[in-house]
Amino acid sequence: MADWEEIKRLAADFQKVQLSSTSQKLSERNCIEIINYLKEKKIIDLIFTVDGKEFLTPSHLIQDIKNELFVSGGRINLVELAKNIGVDLAHITAHLKDVLKGQKDLHSILGQLIDSSYITKIAGEINEKLAQQGQISISDLTIQYDLSAEFLQQQVVEKHLGKIIHGKQDTNDPRVIFTESFIARCKAKIRGALCGLTRPTPVASILNQISLSEKLFFSLFDQTSMHGALTSRVVGAQYIPNVYARSQNEWVNNFYKQNDYLEYDALARLGISDYKSFIKKQLSSEDLVFLNSCAASKRVLERAEADIDECISSKSYLDLQSNLPSVFNDKDIRLILDTVLTKQKQQQTIVIENFILSKAFIENLSKNFDELVKEKAKAVVESGKYQQYQTDIQISSSKPQKFEEVDEKVDKREERRKKAAGGKSGGGTQGRETKTKSTKKAKKHVEEEFETVERRQQLQVVLSEDIADLIQKELEEDGLDELSEPLTQYLLPQLNEKGLEIAGEIYAATIADRTANRRQTHNELQNKLNALIGDVRLFEKGLKLLPEELQGQLVKYLLKTLCTDITTEILNYVAAEQNLNTQTDNFTNEQRLKFVNELPPDLKKSLLPLIKSLSGQSIDEFMAAVEESLSVCSMIIKKIDKKKDRTIVLNHKHVLLEQLNKCDDLALVLHLTTLIIFTTATQCMLHASGRHVAAILSFLKQYLTDGQVAELTSYHDFVTLMLSGGSEAESAKEKLKEKIQTVKNIANEFKKPGAEKS
């Protein structure tokens, strides 16, 4: 039963346990619900951890952050912080403000939290590094500490400069810190380098040598260098030592003092690029003229001026190139001339290249050409070129005149317009005047140009080569031969002008001469022709004595010789009258015909029969034609004078005899002998060629003795034998030589038979 008691007791216990109040414990679920509820109602402020199982109060978070910062040695990344605390980064950043509040030694930079202990620590590090390197730039530190330059500068470096960090800030660049010793070292380096330099050196190469930064160099330069100057404050600058500058200046001064000029090139070689300002600065007291390649003192100009004056007064020339320093180039000389040559002097001189020639010198020179010019002018006139040129001018002169007219018209119009404009502007009279002046000048200038152009087209009386040759000789003596070309160019138009003038004079003179001359020649020719015609008439008379068949031959011969001569004379005269330059002396009949055909119709009409008669058979025909022709040429044939005929025949005979006595030609002796005998026998002249000798001899037999006949025939036979050129020619010649005297004697001793008989 005891067991049942026990059961009862247990049942009671059980009831008691069941009835006992349940402990009022909140389950996790309930807690979460309650907290959520509280948060919803904003009664409490809690922060969830990342896993969501824990809450933090903000103040605890702030404490946590501070603890973490301390643990990590004063510097911690916010992201890392969030990870360490197990809270979302957003909460950290949200509460960062609270952390920083009231804590001046805490800094939040670039997502990092840094406190003063860390700053002190790195300040110490920086100091150590500075001591080692001598110089530290903030930018280097930024890389090393991964902090912003600004922060490092303000919070770390500047706060601790002089306390923890023993150094100095660069005054020019606060981002650089260095120690005194470092600066001293650098200064020493720079001083050393600069002292060693004697010539301008680019800063870059100096820096290379002493391995310093340019910034440092430039900031320290002023404190160190007393020995030179920098051209500028950039990397490309040059350091110019005082020594160098001094010697440069000395050189410049000395050179200038000695030579009175300074060459730009020389300055450039000395390393002075801006030479003009340099010269102005250096030689400010001097009176300088800046030329193209150099600067010269006024003295040089004065000297040149004096030289020119002397040149003018001495009527000689001046070579500026050799008188001035050799460095002066053409442009310089031109500039000098521009300043030195006054208007007055310009009139007295001529500048060719670098030579100044006085006008007097050139005049002297050109006197030598007077002869040449005269000669040439004469030649020009004689060759007819001048006449040609004159006619050319006459043809072309009509054109330029028109041109000028137009020019004038335009000018007038312009002037009118200008007047109108001047009127409008009112007080602008002066301006107008100058304007018109300038236009006048311009016009003049144009005309001059035009003239020169015309002159080019002018007849070249004197050729440049001729002048050049002469000048060359003249100038070589003075050593001025290089000037011959330009001088020639200068003189040529003048001389040409002169030449043209002379040519004009000569031409005028010749024209006057010719009119006088012509009258004379006309008379002469008339007499000559008359004599010839008389001869022809007499010859005709003579040949009429001969047998019929011989007459024909002799007429032909006469026409071919004497008559042709007459015709030629007439034609020559006609040609001269017509100003044709043809000599008809050696003309064939056809040429004569052609010539006559080209003559004016009236001359042609009367001359044509004359030419035709030459190839005819009759002397009468010819005589008629000659008469006609001469009348055209205004010449008169003199009447036949019988008394004169006789003297003419006698003269003819004497001439023939003289010829005979002088003559050695074997054949001609016979020919002359026959002619003399004929003339003596018939009292008539005969015009015959050697071919007719045999026939004439046979005609003369009636007048000669038998012995004479035999003598002459044998001589004649030998002559024919000799002329035939056979084997007996030599012996015939011998024979003839023997007989020549007898034949001559026959001719001399022959008397008219009638006279002998009577």
């Binding site: 067991d3 247990l10 346990v17």
Partner: protein
Amino acid sequence: MVDESTRKTLSSIPLLKTKAGPRDKELWVQRLKEEYQSLIKYVQNNKDADNDWFRLESNKEGTRWFGKCWFIHDLLKYEFDVEFDIPVMYPSTAPEIALPELDGKTAKMYRGGKICLSDHFKPLWARNVPKFGIAHAMALGLGPWLAVEIPDLIAKGVVTHKEKTG
């Protein structure tokens, strides 16, 4: 099988040693003693975990048990009568717990309001004879059944909250 919390609860309930049914006079007493001890422990555990969910008492012999059980859903407490007999073959046969109020209201129930236990319960029980007792049956059988069925029944409107305090 059984969820984690159930397993945990189960492990904290003391196991029984005596294998005896109501017919075994002396031994039954022993068994009943163990039953009570295990129940006390279980209730105590529940109360500690703020998870008290039933009241039980038995007749004098300890063969019939009755009381109440409740389920809290949406902060509302649904309370049901619970009763069961110790079978003759106990502990080989598990007790059949019944909720007479819900008879006919759900398919997961035999006639007389006996709840349909999960397929796992019977083999589990069989394997643990005689170690499992009434406390185990409650924890392993009724507890899960309530947790599954009651929210469903409430949703269907079959079970409504009655304003009463207890």
